[in-house]
Every structure is written in structure tokens, then in C-alpha cells.
């Protein structure tokens, strides 16, 4: 039943994808190190368009030293931002011809290389998943090995989308780092040979439910990484404002302001939360088909619920005076911890109907 040749293609593709991601990380790091952008002083009375272009041109340059400056560079400031701020927030937006919008595409040879490697890696990663599915003649997310491959693929997909859409190329290194670690563990420790799934998992609802989960988790990963950066940036900005030195000034110079990172993280959750809600509902429908109850407080279900509630608390915190910012960020990371526990901890330590990790 299993096409072993194709399964081997899949294994090889996954290893190649990991290597490409690794090289991409190197290139992102080189971009941070060698691609410092020049910062012309922004003249206060410049016409708007020129200013926007400048903002894009300055990129991340001197932001680290002067938070106000960083704010301006990334257009988080109403003075600069009102018009095209959304288009000028990149850390690496190139200066287009004067008056034109900054390009969506990465600038600088290191960044371009990094991004091309990321996209290539993503393609090969997707190939690994598709060939695995073809080899097994089913949706390739029936065990932990396949699941981790799929969620990391989703995370990288969202990284590329966010990079292009929000000019968040600076996220490359930080998202690929956990992705590569997870994939290495996946290939070395968790690897499960291609095979069929248990009859309970053989339903089209599994495809819907698990696909939803994969999309949501991929985005949650992205959001969590942005949030960690946000916390670092906020701390950095506080220290700079208080006149202390900041250990992360070098990196911060390459990143947008905390406010922009916070906004990006929030965007990620605005996408991930409905996807998660959908996946939980689809899971309930599947549970109803398979076991005759839509909700049974099985450990996996319980932790999905906990995750959902914590992320709902995060959304509330964002709208509650005194809870925005850092506290909300911690709630979000706590939600992410619950998510990870559900993925790893519940599979390993708690048995239930869902324990299909294939690790026993």
C-alpha cells in the first residue's frame, strides 16, 4: 500500500528543506550584520511623500539609539504615518524612485538571498509533505512526525506571506530558528515510517480538523515569535528611555518599534484565533462521528479548550485598560505554552482517545 520510493523522496526533501532553511538563517544573519542602512536625518518640514520614501529608505538604521527615531522610521508615528505608514514599516524597504511606494520585495543582496532560500526551502518542504501523502495515499498528518512537519511548513508559509505583505523580512531569522530546531528533532527523534492510519483517523473530518489546526498553529507560532521580539523591543525601548544601556541594541536597530511588533503579533492572532476556533469545531464534529459525543473532556480536548480560553483572554486583555502591551503579551505566550503542551505533553504523558502520536 505504501509507496516506499516516494516515501524516501519525501524524507530526502525534508532534509533538503531543513538545510535550505539553515542557509537562509545564515543569510538573514548576514543581512543583520553587514547590511546596515544609512540614516539621513529626516527634515521636519519635508513634503509627505518624500518623507515616506525617506522613512522607507532609512529602514532600521539608527532606530536602536533613539526610540523616537525608530518610531519615525517605521511610520508608527502619526506625524509620518498617516498616509502610507502601512506601506513603510519595513526594516528593509528599499527606496523606490522618489515619490513612489517602497517595494514589497526584499532589498539588499543578503536579504534577497535569504528570502529566496526561504521560499525554496518552503517549496521543497511542501514537496516533502505532498510526496509523503502520495506515498501513503492519505492526508499526510496522521502522526506526530507528519504533524510537526506540517505545522512548521505552515509557520514558514506565514513568514513569507507576512514578509511580503507587511514587509516583515526581519522576522526571517527568528521564525526559522525554532522551525529548524523542531524539524531536526522531528527527523532525528520522532521519525515514523510512512504507513496507514487507524480506522478512527480515517475520515474526511480529520483532513478538515487537522488542516485547520495546522493553519492555526503555524500562525500561532509566528505570533509567538513576534511577541517575544515585541517584549525584547519594549524592554529595550524602556531602557533607552531611562538612559540605561540595552544589551540587545544591536538587534533592535534592525527591528521596527515595539508598537509595530505588537501590531504584527496581534494581526497573527486575529488570523490564528478564528482558525483555531474553526479547527476545534471541526474536531468536535469529528469526535461526534467517531465516538458519539462532540465534547468529552478528553485530555486533548481539554487542552484545546484551555488554549482557546487563554487566547480569548489575550484578546480581552488587548481591550482592557491596564492589560495592553506587556501583560497581554505574556498572556499570549502562556496561551502558546498551552498549545505546545497540548502538542507534546499530552501526547507523551497523558493518555486519551487522541493519543495517536505513534510514539508508544
Amino acid at each position: 500500500m505504501v509507496n516506499t520510493a516516494l516515501a524516501q523522496v519525501s524524507n530526502a526533501a525534508l532534509v533538503s528543506a531543513i538545510m535550505l532553511y539553515g542557509f537562509a538563517m545564515l543569510a538573514y544573519a548576514c543581512d543583520f550584520l553587514y547590511n546596515r542602512r544609512q540614516v539621513p536625518a529626516a527634515a521636519p518640514a519635508e513634503p509627505a511623500r518624500a518623507k515616506v520614501a525617506t522613512a522607507a529608505l532609512v529602514g532600521a538604521g539608527a532606530g536602536g539609539a533613539d526610540p523616537d527615531q525608530a518610531e519615525r522610521n517605521f511610520g508608527a508615528d502619526p506625524a509620518d504615518a498617516s498616509q502610507l505608514a502601512d506601506l513603510s514599516q519595513s526594516s528593509s524597504g528599499p527606496a523606490g524612485p522618489a515619490g513612489a511606494l517602497p517595494s514589497r520585495w526584499p532589498s539588499g543582496s543578503w536579504l534577497r538571498t535569504a528570502f529566496v532560500l526561504t521560499c525554496l526551502g518552503l517549496l521543497i518542504h511542501a514537496t516533502a509533505i505532498v510526496t509523503r501523502g502520495l506515498a501513503e495515499n492519505r492526508f499526510p498528518w496522521g502522526n506526530m512526525y507528519e504533524f510537526i512537519s506540517a505545522i512548521t511548513c505552515a509557520a514558514v508559509l506565514f513568514l513569507t506571506v507576512a514578509a511580503i505583505r507587511f514587509r516583515a523580512y526581519y522576522m526571517g531569522l527568528f521564525v526559522l530558528l525554532p522551525v529548524v530546531i523542531a524539524l531536526v528533532v522531528d527527523v532525528v527523534v520522532i521519525y515514523t515510517p510512512a504507513g496507514a492510519v487507524a480506522p478512527a483517523l480515517n475520515s474526511y473530518w480529520i483532513a478538515i480538523h487537522v488542516t485547520g489546526m495546522i493553519i492555526a498553529i503555524g500562525m500561532y507560532i509566528f505570533g509567538a515569535v513576534v511577541t517575544v521580539l515585541y517584549l525584547l523591543a519594549a524592554r529595550h525601548e524602556r531602557r533607552v528611555a531611562a538612559g540605561q544601556d540595552s544589551a540587545v541594541a544591536g538587534i533592535m536597530a534592525q527591528l521596527p518599534s515595539a508598537a509595530k511588533l505588537d501590531q504584527l503579533a496581534y494581526r497573527a492572532i486575529l488570523f490564528a484565533f478564528p482558525a483555531w476556533t474553526f479547527a476545534v469545531i471541526a474536531g468536535a464534529i469529528w469526535a461526534d462521528h467517531a465516538w458519539g459525543r462532540y465534547w468529552g473532556w478528553d485530555p486533548k480536548e481539554t487542552w484545546s479548550f484551555i488554549t482557546w480560553v487563554v487566547y480569548a483572554a489575550f484578546l480581552h486583555a488587548r481591550a482592557t485598560a491596564g492589560w495592553r502591551g506587556r501583560r497581554a503579551a505574556y498572556i499570549q505566550l502562556f496561551g502558546f505554552a498551552c498549545l505546545m503542551f497540548n502538542l507534546v505533553g499530552v501526547n507523551l504523558w497523558i493518555t486519551g482517545l487522541h493519543s495517536y502520536a505513534g510514539l508508544t
Binding site: P78, A85, A259, A317, A321
Partner: protein, 585 residues
């Protein structure tokens, strides 16, 4: 003053009743109610709900795995009773768990219903007047118009109308508002959650769950005595059960025969005949995993399977006192080795009992023990340990059919050996003989009836729809003022304000709108951009950007003055207009 500054005003909902004033019980009640329905309380309760669920996943739960609870009692004899007193083995039915979610949902209702009324009211009111000085809005721009003031204003109004804004016009100005669906979506989401809880309650009151182990060839009717386990809802009586009956004619299982997954199940099929009335016509159904049988709203699921070896016992007096299949329970999955007991209370001169192990594909390991290599019956063998004495079945305490109480029995001294189908083991001392006749399979069925199922699904879908709606739509206002410049040309000022835009995006929308306005209505002069505006930096303290909370000044999201009252937008807008006026003059 920026919109953000306005929003920083203290909410006033969390402070205690005004100091100094005398407070009667009514005032305290009102204060308590405001506390309960505040956003902060909702946040805390959500957290508590998440925390309270954790023990439910860590401790074994009565409703999920009663055997694990029993096991827990043996391994933690002192802790278990304490946990039981705290409902630790029934967390999701615990009073403290119920207290949390009931408080949360009370808070929800108290928060959401007034908001729904307010939304309904405000949706019938026109948008507020345009502020005098649009430049003070978070988004603003201006340009010289091509036409006269009247033409420009009419053109702007038409453009906004075409974009389906709700409009209010006045002397030289237009206010436009859009995006009520944000609030509608948010309310729909929260109200759907209330409906979801109601649906779950409906299932808990009027639904039931039951289990039945059914050996191929046998049948049963849906009545409490015929069911192995029966969990009725609080308001369910025996007469509420749907009067159907099911017979399983045949059960087949197939397994993967090669590769690394050898022995794992490939498919299960239970071929059943059922009738929805006691003596009604019967219909056939192939019951599979993920393919439940639905009889008049009651669902029947295949949730497990195993073997039931058939035994025939002849006692010492020569009578056949036992001849039936005995369900054995699998103790491992890769070879489906199963354990079971045979109780023969009618045997003479003494009652007989056997505890057995069934091996679907028996083989002898190198150490000499026997084991099962494959779950299918390729080489079926059974091995029995025999007892004589008193089975203890009349002691009054109910006994499990799957365990043998050997406290009043003596082991019969005969070496257990593997029996193949058809083989007989003769007991010593004229106690009789036992024959392993053959094998049948059994299926374990879950029978559920949940009238809340459909409403729960509908509520969940409504909640999801509301969520997506509220995330996609932002509520925003656009203001236009047209005035004559010194040289007589018309100048169009455009201002914008949003409230539900934490994720950003309004700036872009506003910028695009400004570009279109300019294209349609603008004169030859340059598009005035932000640089023409008063620099809001002047109103910002230098420390602001370094605030721990995202200041989000560019996001143009006025921080809600009262987070509990999203309707504050209108208040914001008007307040903003007035303050802008007072400052501008």
C-alpha cells in the same frame, strides 16, 4: 489633544462607589453588578476557567475512564478520598467549576445584552457632526478642489454614499460612518457562546449515553436493563428511550498484514439489523468507525471490538450446564491477547469457575511462554485456569462479569494447556469437562442521544461567523469639510477616525480614500499630506514612545474611554469634535 489622550481617561467602572456618599444596599448591588460585568472580571474569570480545567486533564475522570479512577484509589489511598471530596475526579461537573462558568456567563450576559441594545439604538441615529478642525483627527489631509465649494461637497457626499457610508450632512460638512458589523459580529459571537452553553445544558438534561457489548449473533433492545452502562440526563426516564432494537449478524475486522504497521487495524465492519419499533420491520446497516447508525435521532457508534470464545461446560453429573460465548477483553492491541472469565454457577457437585486467556494467533516464545503474534484468528488458542468452590454470586454484592472472586474457591490441580477450537479439557476428580467450541466476535456500541447537538453546532458556527465578522470589519468615521481659501478656491479637508483597528489598516484605507478624493475632486495644487498638519509630536511627551504598552499612536485607535462600552465611539467622536473646536479657537 489626540484621540489617544482622550481615551486614557479612567474608566470609572472599577472604582468603588463614590467616596463620601452614603451607600445603601441598592447602590452596592449596582456596584457589584458593574464589577461583575466589567472587562477586567471577564478576563479574570476566563483565566480561572482555563486554570480550573487543568486538573480535569491531569487526574483520571469518572466520566471518561472509571477504571483509571479506581486505579488511582489503589495507588494513592490517602490522597484519592480528599480529591474525590473536591470533585477532583469529576472536574467538569464540579460545583466550583460550574461556579466559574456560571459567573462568567452571567458577566457575559450582563455585558453583552446592554451593548446589544445600545448598538440597536445607535444604529438608528445618524453619525455625529463633523468636528470643526479635522486636522486634529488621527487621520487628516486636505487639498484644493477643482470645483466650487458646493460641487466639491456634493461630489464628496456622492463618493461616500457610493462607498455605502451612513451619512449626515450639514453646512459645509459631511460625516460618514461605516462598520457597524464589527460590533454586530462581536455581539453575535458572545451571544452565540451563551447559546452554546444553553445547548450543552439541553443535552445534559434531556440526553443520554449508554454502552452495550454485543456478541455477533445476539441482539438487544434499547431499555435500561439491556444496556451495560446507562447515563441518563437529569430529566430522562426509562420511558424516554427510543424503542429500537439491534441485532448484530456478523462482525468482521481486517488488519494490515505486512510492513511496519503489521497488526494494526485496517477496517472494522459490524453488520447489524435494526428496527425502530419493537416489532417493526427490520433494516440492515453496515456499522463502521466514523459511520454511526442513526435511529430516530439516537446514534449508535462502533467504539470497540474483541473476541468471545464459546465454551461448553459439562458438570460432574453429566449435564451441560453452560454453552455460550464469553466476551474476553483485549489486554494488548498488537496481538489482541484477551482475558476473560467463565462462571458456571449451575455446575454440580461444586460450582466451577475459569479464568482464561485467549490468543488469536498463538505462538510459543523462546522462553516457553505463549503470546499472540497477530490480532486476527490465524491460530486461535485458549488457555484456562480452573477453580472449584463457591463463586460468591449470591452474596448480594453485585459482581463484575469480567472478574472471578476466588476467595472461596480452590484451584483445581490440572496444568493449563493450550486448547484449539473443538478441544476439550477434562477436569480431574469427576468435576466435569470444558470444551472450547469456537469463536465469535463482539462489538462494543455507544448509544447516544443529545438533543443539544444541533443547537450546539449552530451556535458554534454563529460564534465563528461573528468572530470573523468582527475581525474583518472596522468601524470608522470619515469627515469632510469644504471651505473657501483666501483666494476663493474651495479647500477640501478630509479627516478619519476609527476605534476598532488595533491591527492597523485604517491608515491605508484612509490614504487610499484620500487619493481617490483627490483624483475625483482635486485641483491642480499638490495633495496636502501629513506634513501640512500640526505635528502631533508637539503634544507628545518625549517618554511616550518608550512606554511599555504599545502607544500605537499611528494606528489611530482611540483607546476606549470605557473598555466595557464599545459604543463610546460616538461619545469619543463628539468629544473629539468639541475639544478640537475649543482648542482651535
Amino acid at each position: 489633544m489626540t484621540a489617544a489622550d482622550l481615551g486614557a481617561a479612567p474608566a470609572g467602572t472599577t472604582g468603588s462607589p463614590a467616596p463620601g456618599a452614603r451607600f445603601g444596599p441598592v447602590a452596592w448591588l449596582r456596584w457589584g453588578w458593574r464589577q461583575l460585568t466589567s472587562m477586567r472580571t471577564a478576563l479574570v474569570l476566563l483565566f480561572l476557567l482555563a486554570l480550573a480545567s487543568i486538573p480535569g486533564s491531569v487526574l483520571p475522570q469518572e466520566g471518561i475512564d472509571p477504571a483509571a479512577v479506581t486505579q488511582y484509589y489503589t495507588s494513592h489511598p490517602t490522597l484519592a478520598p480528599i480529591l474525590a471530596r473536591l470533585s477532583g475526579f469529576d472536574v467538569f461537573g464540579a460545583p466550583w467549576f460550574a461556579a466559574i462558568y456560571l459567573l462568567l456567563f452571567t458577566s457575559l450576559a450582563g455585558c453583552v445584552l446592554p451593548r446589544a441594545f445600545r448598538l440597536a439604538r445607535s444604529s438608528r441615529q445618524p453619525p455625529p457632526k463633523a468636528p470643526r478642525n479635522l486636522r486634529r483627527l488621527p487621520q487628516a489631509t486636505s487639498f484644493r478642489a477643482a470645483g466650487s465649494a458646493e460641487e466639491t461637497l456634493a461630489g464628496a457626499t456622492a463618493m461616500l454614499r457610493q462607498r455605502r457610508f451612513r451619512l449626515r450632512t450639514g453646512d459645509g460638512w459631511v460625516s460618514a460612518e461605516k462598520g457597524y458589523l464589527h460590533e454586530v459580529g462581536n455581539l453575535l459571537f458572545h451571544i452565540a457562546l451563551l447559546c452554546l452553553l444553553a445547548s450543552v445544558a439541553l443535552g445534559g438534561l434531556f440526553g443520554y449515553k449508554a454502552n452495550k457489548l454485543l456478541v455477533a449473533g445476539n441482539g438487544f433492545a434499547d431499555t435500561p436493563p439491556a444496556l451495560d452502562v446507562f447515563h441518563p440526563g437529569r430529566l430522562v426516564t426509562a420511558s424516554d428511550l427510543a424503542p429500537f432494537s439491534i441485532t448484530m449478524t456478523h462482525f468482521s475486522a481486517s488488519y494490515i498484514t505486512s510492513g511496519t504497521q503489521r497488526g494494526e487495524p485496517a477496517s472494522f465492519n459490524a453488520y447489524v439489523k435494526y428496527s425502530s419499533q419493537y416489532d417493526g420491520p427490520t433494516r440492515a446497516y453496515n456499522l463502521r468507525v466514523n459511520h454511526p447508525l442513526n435511529v430516530d435521532g439516537v446514534q449508535v457508534f462502533l467504539i470497540g471490538h474483541g473476541y468471545a470464545p464459546i465454551f461448553k461446560v459439562t458438570d460432574g453429573t453429566g449435564h451441560v450446564v453452560f454453552d455460550q460465548p464469553v466476551p474476553f477483553i483485549p489486554v494488548e492491541q498488537s496481538g489482541l491477547t484477551s482475558d476473560g472469565v467463565i462462571k458456571v454457577p449451575d455446575a454440580n457437585p461444586q460450582q466451577l469457575g475459569f479464568s482464561g486467556e485467549f490468543l488469536p494467533t498463538a505462538y510459543e516464545t523462546v522462553t516457553g511462554s505463549v503470546s499472540s503474534a497477530f490480532p486476527a484468528t490465524d491460530l486461535p488458542r485458549v488457555i484456562l485456569v480452573s477453580y472449584q468452590g463457591n463463586l460468591g454470586m449470591n452474596s448480594g454484592t453485585p459482581q463484575s462479569i469480567y472478574s472471578l472472586d476466588t476467595s472461596q474457591m480452590r484451584r483445581i490441580d490440572i496444568t493449563p494447556k493450550l486448547l484449539a477450537p473443538g478441544q476439550t479439557m477434562v477436569l480431574p476428580h469427576g468435576l466435569g469437562k470444558v470444551t472450547f467450541v469456537g469463536i465469535r466476535q463482539w462489538a462494543s456500541l455507544a448509544i447516544t442521544y443529545d438533543p443539544g447537538q444541533f443547537p450546539a453546532l449552530a451556535s458554534a458556527i454563529a460564534a465563528l461567523a461573528g468572530l470573523i465578522m468582527s475581525f474583518l470589519v472596522r468601524r470608522r468615521r470619515i469627515f469632510v469639510r469644504v471651505a473657501a481659501a483666501d483666494d476663493g478656491a474651495a479647500v477640501l479637508e478630509l479627516g478619519g477616525l476609527t476605534r476598532s483597528d488595533a491591527a492597523g489598516g485604517f491608515e491605508t484605507e484612509f490614504a487610499e480614500l484620500a487619493v481617490e478624493f483627490k483624483r475625483e475632486l482635486g485641483g491642480s495644487a499638490e495633495l496636502g499630506g501629513p506634513a501640512e498638519r500640526t505635528e502631533p509630536e508637539q503634544s507628545r511627551t518625549p517618554s511616550e514612545p518608550a512606554r511599555p504598552e504599545p502607544a500605537q499612536p499611528g494606528l489611530a485607535r482611540p483607546e476606549p474611554a470605557q473598555p466595557d462600552e464599545p459604543e463610546a465611539l460616538s461619545a469619543d467622536g463628539i468629544a473629539l469634535a468639541q475639544s478640537a473646536q475649543s482648542k482651535g479657537e
